[in-house]
Symmetry: C2
Subunit: 429 residues, 2 copies
């Protein structure tokens, strides 16, 4: 496959709010484990805005973006030799394979990777950062490609038998936002403070046999959740939560309040829910989309001021953490997947002690969650597959000529999920 | 049973370091759900020191202490009528019954109690605080006694069949420190970030079937734990952790470092461990007791700088939290049962995000953990049952005449667990 020597890319110029579309060299293989991928689509993500706004004090010009889907065009020498390395990772990838990539690299071989915690790989780098050139380009270099890339041309990965069409732009959502939404959900639903209410049994679950409170579990304790932040990741988290709770067919039902201060985001969430609710939600289940103040009142009313079983924090700032703390019940858990900065934590140890709060922080190990995310992506093509529908997740697919404008509009919350087609010419003049 | 009208009690006088033994009235029933208990033993606990040192800015003179075992001498009218209330809680308690009491009250009827989160009962009060007179006295009033007290005279509770003698002073440990230590352990061992390493399988456990990383779990990832703080609660946590891990017979074994800056505490821990290790620990298991600096090095060496699977924080200050953060691995969990104050949290959201840390904070729901704690208390009478042994948990049983001296010595870390016998006359002199 022939590759030109220069390409177009969206570049960040410090200190802030300065995005330029520029010609840069096409990357080369620099390590035997590298792959070069020709990008079909790349995403604009909420966490791109942290750099854009100057919040991360990045002082290096670099190519933006950490979400992409594309095709392998070059491979380092590791892929052509028979080695003793983990075979599924470095034996199967071929030139021409269609791949989707997590937003961070992972070697697949270190202790962290093999324990499933791929986003904390000891060699991990974040695409679109000063450490590694990003995906809002036509080509990208992928370090540790055997451990990092998810091979969509591998028949073991790609369920060819599925009758549904899966759009390429929807596959891009596997790079970050869909697994990150799922991550927020499974952290909450697998927490030992949340498992009991799902089972309608008192804590601690594993000690059921000897608990003298067995049989006393209160009917009014219905699993209750808040999702704080309805950007694209928050929407993915909500769809995943509805899916996961729907599967469980809880006798008590469940209650969810999805919260965002921006009206257009709330409306988008409602449109999307109108598709989901038909198929998944039982009559006793309750789902509402509300502003912050409305949500506080709703949780008070639903729970007689006790609070939510769990809160998903999908924003990444102190006001979102403080709201999550306010909404969660004593002995509740907060699953925080927002990217937090270095400002002082908004809660004291005393507040955390007094409410017996649990927190799960951090970055999604996308590579480990691909199988789950892939299942949900296929199942809900009605939401993830379309572009520009009122009830679809992706708002627009644009060329790089609209990059400056789209960054500004996304920064202001005026557009939803934006996907770049790096090969598209401007259609309307 | 006849009751005198005045009693002796240990009272806190604001603002700090002022403890006095005084005559006060014997409490009366003030609510139909009350019980009056004649105290056999009451404990001096690390969290008594928060008030003693003036850290909680308590401005009210009150009776100290929140750990006691004793005998019911008066009951409110709720206990003598047949009601529709939860029968096991308010029907079985009788005058003359031997009881042990959690350090906070719990009604047993509200949503929090019936969900097992008894320490966050909506009516909960802490003994030995401005809200409720304490246990370092001869008599105590117990609100919500039907939900709060654990009835040791109830044949369903008290396993009469057990061949072992259980000392009264050891039963006092059920009031707080033994369940609190167990709480620290079960929060860590039931956490979804810790369950995989115990199962030697990659995260996320529940998605095993579809994970393409199955079978790759690294042998070098051995379950590794640190316990920060070897006061009496830390010792209980350590014994419980050794017991729980011992039961699991992990093929990989486990590694534990128990950490305290005070040498006498480390020596006590080692003596106690010498009893435990014979019966519980397999040859591949590793247990060490170390200073802070030693422990940092040990964890680095053991884990090739990855860190501990989980850290139990049993101190309740910012340096302990910061140490726990330093020792824990990315995707590790910190189980914090120390009582934290209102100082700023020592970590930023960015630090928590960057390490994918999970935290479980808060007070032990003692009432829910009585069955587990009771089992361990009986099983390890060799440690909990003696007084003043090198390898026993309780250091001394003293009369109130030694109260001032004991508070001062405990504050300085010069003595271990102190138990008061409110009826004891001074023996020497």
């Amino acid at each position: 496959m022939s590759v030109a020597s220069s390409q177009v890319a969206i570049r960040f110029h410090p200190p802030s709010y300065d995005i330029r579309v520029e010609n840069v060299p096409i990357p080369e293989i620099t390590h035997p484990d590298d792959a070069i991928v020709k990008i079909h689509f790349s995403g604009l993500c909420g966490s791109d805005l942290h750099v854009y706004r100057g919040h991360e004090a990045v002082d290096k010009i670099h190519t933006c973006g950490h979400e992409f889907i594309g095709q392998v065009v070059k491979l380092g020498s590791s892929f052509s030799v028979h080695s003793q390395r983990l075979p599924t990772l470095y034996a199967n990838l071929k030139i021409g394979d269609k791949v989707v990539c997590p937003f961070t690299t992972s070697c697949g071989e270190c202790q962290m990777c093999r324990s499933g915690f791929t986003c904390r790989c000891i060699q991990s780098k974040l695409f679109g950062s000063p450490a590694l050139e990003g995906a809002q380009a036509q080509y990208i270099r992928v370090p540790n490609a055997g451990g990092t890339l998810f091979n969509l041309s591998d028949p073991d990965t790609w369920p060819l038998s599925t009758p549904k069409q899966v759009s390429d732009s929807s596959l891009l959502l596997l790079a970050d936002i869909l697994p990150t939404g799922i991550f927020a959900v499974i952290q909450a639903l697998s927490h030992p403070k949340v498992l009991p209410v799902l089972a309608a049994a008192p804590w601690p679950l594993h000690d059921l046999a000897s608990s003298d409170m067995l049989g006393l579990f209160p009917k009014e304790n219905v699993p209750t959740f808040a999702i704080v932040g309805l950007g694209p990741v928050g929407v993915c988290a909500t769809i995943s939560l509805l899916d996961q709770l729907g599967k469980r067919q809880l006798p008590s039902g469940f209650r969810i309040v999805a919260v965002d201060p921006i009206e257009s985001r709330r409306n988008k969430m409602r449109s999307i829910y109108s598709k989901v609710c038909d198929s998944k939600v039982q009559s006793r289940d309750v789902f509402v989309v509300q502003s912050i103040e409305e949500a506080k009142e709703t949780v008070q009313t639903w729970t007689s001021s006790v609070g939510c079983s769990a809160v998903l924090e999908v924003v990444g700032n102190n006001s979102a953490l403080a709201l999550a703390y306010e909404l969660v019940q004593p002995f509740g858990t907060i699953s925080s997947v927002g990217v937090h900065g270095e400002r002082p934590f908004p809660l004291t140890g005393g507040q955390l002690y007094d409410k017996n709060v649990s927190f799960d922080f951090g970055r999604c190990p996308v590579r480990s969650l691909f199988p789950m995310a892939f299942d949900l992506l296929i199942k809900r093509q009605d939401i993830f597959g379309g572009v520009g529908d009122e009830s679809g997740l992706i708002d627009r697919i644009v060329g790089f000529d609209e990059a400056v404008e789209m960054y500004a509009a996304f920064d202001k919350g005026e557009v939803g999920k934006i996907v770049f087609d790096p090969w598209r010419k401007k259609i309307i003049d």
